[in-house]
């Protein structure tokens, strides 16, 4: 990619690297193209049933776009390494949070415990969706799923589509 070559060329200018204006326009053009791929890709993925295409185009491209913004717009590559260290530390704390908490959220049962509220909510919501059905779920579902409205305790209270 031409914007990348320009970046490689200019990186050794040190702190406060000064790029020609075209460099920013090229980066912007690359970002817009990547954005279009990230919208069209998941659409094709949905139509063809290729889940990995959705995953790569929606989320993989988000990381590429983020990389372009960080390097070409924020000029992090020419920033002092000290800055890199504390930004990476912040990311590491985010990862620590994710990996420490996600086993309790993503599993609904484990040794000597069961998340009854979560399981009941999944069952209730899926049954309600199956009864009301479809993409226009709010135009008349909710009425068909009475009896399921005893919302379980916990974080999943009011059933969707009950009121208009």
């Amino acid at each position: 990619m031409s914007a990348d070559n320009a970046a490689a060329h200019d990186d050794d200018h040190g702190h406060g690297a000064h790029h020609p204006v075209e460099y920013y326009y090229k980066t912007y053009a690359a970002l817009v193209v990547l954005f279009l791929v990230s919208v069209i890709g998941p659409y094709i993925g949905e139509v063809t049933g290729l889940w990995w295409l959705t995953l790569i185009t929606a989320f993989g491209i988000a990381f590429v776009k983020a990389g372009l913004v960080i390097r070409n717009f924020m000029h992090l590559t020419v920033e002092k390494s000290f800055v890199h260290y504390f930004l990476i530390t912040a990311l590491a704390f985010m990862a620590l949070f994710f990996f420490a908490v996600s086993p309790d959220v993503m599993n609904h049962e484990g040794t000597n415990w069961k998340n009854l509220a979560a399981e009941a909510e999944i069952e209730r919501a899926l049954a309600e969706h199956a009864a009301g059905g479809g993409h226009h779920g709010d135009h008349g579902d909710g009425h068909g799923a009475e009896g399921d409205h005893a919302a379980p305790e916990g974080d999943h209270a009011a059933p969707e589509g009950e009121h208009h």
Partner: protein, 191 residues
Amino acid sequence: MSAKPIATTRSATGVQTAKLAVWWLLASEIVIFGGLLAAYLMHRMAHPEWANYAVHTNTLAGAVNTIVLLTSSLTAVLAHHAAEEGNGPKAAKLLYATVGGACMFLVIKSLEWSNEIAHGYTITANTFWSFYYTAAGIHGAHVIVGALIMLWVASTARKNEELHRVENVGLYWHFVDLVWIFLFPLLYIAK
């Protein structure tokens, strides 16, 4: 300004103090948004029924707002470029353009939210919508604050004063763009 602060650089880091402060701010923002998005992600993967809620988010509004923010990031970096050249008035104009992008983003966002709230998808509808409004709401608050700071920075840059602030506010603005780059697929694309 008659008196210049002495501590404009830190010898240990070699980074201009104001800029270093912005980077520290962004590090704290990584934890704020990162924590929120990580929590959303783990719940989303654990709750298959959320897919039925996510189909109701407005992909077109999210997509247009992505382009708006990407474009405003371009004008922000062009303002930085102009400031580096010592052209304060041009930098100020480009910052005003960036503020215009922020306003456009907020108008689209409020139309989108009004429509969703009118259909009963409120912040209390269920946990999916709670995450949706919290994540996009905190992001929207950052857009408002960014626009106000840019107006202030532009008011000094216009007079060719404190031009280093143009880069610093730009860093913040690119970060706001970065958060949206991840919010967009998480809230609008993954159906």
